[in-house]
Symmetry: C2
Subunit: 399 residues, 2 copies
């Protein structure tokens, strides 16, 4: 976590209330403590003494930028302002002395379906008889609403859900899912600022996007399969969604903007790309069986998503719907074209199970398995902009 | 609004901050004012001095009941406690001196599809080749997540949305919807109380349901038709959902509980009805063209819904998903079996347009049209438990 990153999150030091923090190396900077000594005049105290980033998200982009700029000055080598303010001496805390909490109180959670490769893979599996891509897919970023209230922070255990499934012919039975899967995604968190009835133009989307998080959209494929027609996924997804503890700002990712793949046919004018808004973020999925060591099972990139975050937000508000401070929009599963670049187990194991170092095999997750997502931009001599990990361990179903 | 009702809402008196209120006849009782003189010891001041009912929803059912019981005592004929507390003399305000605000800050919004007649009607229209009811429909209350952030209070104008539609063959075009429709629904608002991973049993659902509201789930049928496969409705619904200003408690509706229609096949044990949780609520839809008089266009009942609110909440949490204070769960369009009992225009006009008194016809809504939903239980000599109206006027699309 170099000074070029400075992501935002919520930490709870021991025996204290939650507050806003940024991360620098192996430390977090307690913004409430820095504010108390007068060094963050950009925002009122309630923005940094908050249980979530929502009050900050409710400010405008100029304020987000001014605050982050101030932090970069305060944390620059040779700056002694924090040290000079005696009362803020404990503002810099070792990362292992704080608890990382859910950074955002999520209002609405939208999940897109914006990877061409993932949509093609899933279409082949769920509708083997026809064209894997439905006629609308290249015209708009298909998405649906998930459950915002079950978004949890990295580290939260994931209880295996029950649901109605139809393993054979005949009526459904109610039992724990046998097909617990992951979905590797990147999500963006919005500020506010568009009144009801007023779309956000594709060229202005970045003004309304605070930053990105890693997302694991846990999925129960057997529950999803029985329920999803005609209104889409519901309980097969709504039991839990894990996000990374740090929201990485668009400004930190600015050096890593890329054009995104060509689009054919060209989207309608309101969705036509106004600028490069894909991001070269490398992604990795690791799986640890029981207490074992994590093994990489997938490696891919966010850069290849067919629809960019700007197109997604422009589409989601093109009917006049608002984006609230704290709304989360996830990309959909990120899969590449080559074997080993898929973002879900159902895709990774199409041609056979994954073999783990302990000799066991996986098609879907077993109790005790831990899944870890990593994501970073840069590296190889450039500052590495990371998200921290997005981790969850599967607990057995309730009996 | 008799003393048997005492619904909860949020009012803003002129030049004042919003606060919690109840309704009695043509007046509202300002609960913050009553609390200030010490007459509502059941709750702390922040519960009634709130911009929404969420802090109250976060309390338990015993507190909800104690508060409503206290109000019924204070408002009983002959009780002089409020009058005796001089400072609360302005607690009772004429309804036309306050603004009625959105009662709940909606977190997640779930929309079910629980009317057998509506699901059958829509299935015939959208999938004419097959069985109108899909195989899952009688096994679980089909539902999906809508957009909580665009739930608005009665009276909020509804801007006609733009979207991608395919009126003929060929690629889509982006234009204002030509098929703006309504959906007559009843929704319930939850408290909290189920930790992540812990389902709410069907027999305990009522402990987590604060009360009911009327819901108009505005729908753009042409936008919906192009986008909804494979992940369900998105922008065809997310532009606006109107709810009534008053949340009517389950206790007020207790005399109007009915069994609901028989279910065949019997649901799985976790969804089997534990008690009568359908409600005999009469419903009416009125349409006013331009500045004209409202004309009744549909009359139906909530009593006939196939899935009850208890079954809906048990299903929605059966995978361990939480319900937050302020989550909204709507019934889905309420349609009866007979002509004139359908809850949407697309159903009402299947066999021809509606004729209005001014001689005009409607298949879908035109700019300037006003739709009003009414709902009530009782009447005919019994106390009438009403919701107030759920109203919206269509504004022209942005150019």
């Amino acid at each position: 976590f170099p000074i070029q990153n400075l992501p935002f999150g919520i930490v709870r030091p021991r025996d204290s209330a939650p507050r806003v923090a940024t991360r620098i190396g192996d430390h977090v900077l307690d913004l409430a403590a820095v504010h108390r000594v007068g060094l963050l005049p950009e925002v009122p105290p309630e923005v940094v003494e908050a249980r979530n980033l929502n009050p900050l998200l409710g400010r405008d982009r100029a304020t987000w930028r001014a605050l982050r700029h101030r932090l970069s000055v305060l944390l620059s080598e040779g700056n002694g302002e924090i040290a000079a303010a005696g009362d803020a001496g404990d503002a810099l805390l070792p990362i292992d002395e704080v608890e990382l909490l859910l950074p955002v109180e999520v209002g609405d959670y939208v999940d897109f379906y914006s990877s061409l490769e993932h949509a093609t893979n899933l279409g082949r599996m769920f509708r083997p008889e026809g064209d894997p891509l439905l006629p609308n897919w290249r015209h708009l970023p298909i998405g649906y609403h998930g459950r915002g209230g079950t978004v949890v922070v990295s580290g939260t255990p994931i209880r295996r859900p029950w649901g109605q499934v139809t393993p054979g012919e005949g009526p459904p039975s109610f039992r724990p899912t046998q097909r617990l899967d992951i979905e590797l995604e990147v999500g963006f968190v919005t500020g506010g600022g568009n009144p009801l009835g007023t779309p956000i133009p594709v060229g202005a989307a970045a003004d309304h996007i605070f930053g990105l998080v890693l997302v694991n959209d846990w999925s129960a494929r057997d529950i999803q399969r029985f329920e999803y027609q005609p209104l889409g996924p519901f309980l097969g997804k709504s039991f839990a969604t894990t996000i990374s503890p740090w929201v990485v700002t668009l400004d930190a990712l600015e050096p890593h903007r890329v054009p995104g793949p060509p689009q054919e046919p060209e989207p309608l004018p309101h969705l036509r790309r106004a600028e490069d808004r894909a991001y070269a973020i490398d992604l990795e999925v690791l799986l640890a069986a029981g207490g074992g060591d994590p093994t990489p099972i997938s490696r891919t990139t966010f850069a290849g998503m067919y629809w960019t975050i700007a197109q997604q937000l422009a589409h989601a508000t093109s009917n006049g719907a608002t984006a609230r401070p704290g709304d989360l929009f996830a990309s959909g599963t990120i899969s590449g074209a080559d074997p080993g670049t898929e973002g879900s187990l159902i895709e990774l194991t199409r041609d056979g199970p994954i073999r783990l170092p302990d000799g066991s095999e996986r098609r879907f997750l077993e109790d005790g398995d831990t899944v870890i997502l990593h994501g970073w931009a840069g590296g190889d001599g450039r500052p590495r902009i990371g998200f921290g990990e997005c981790r969850g361990t599967v607990l057995p179903a309730l009996s």
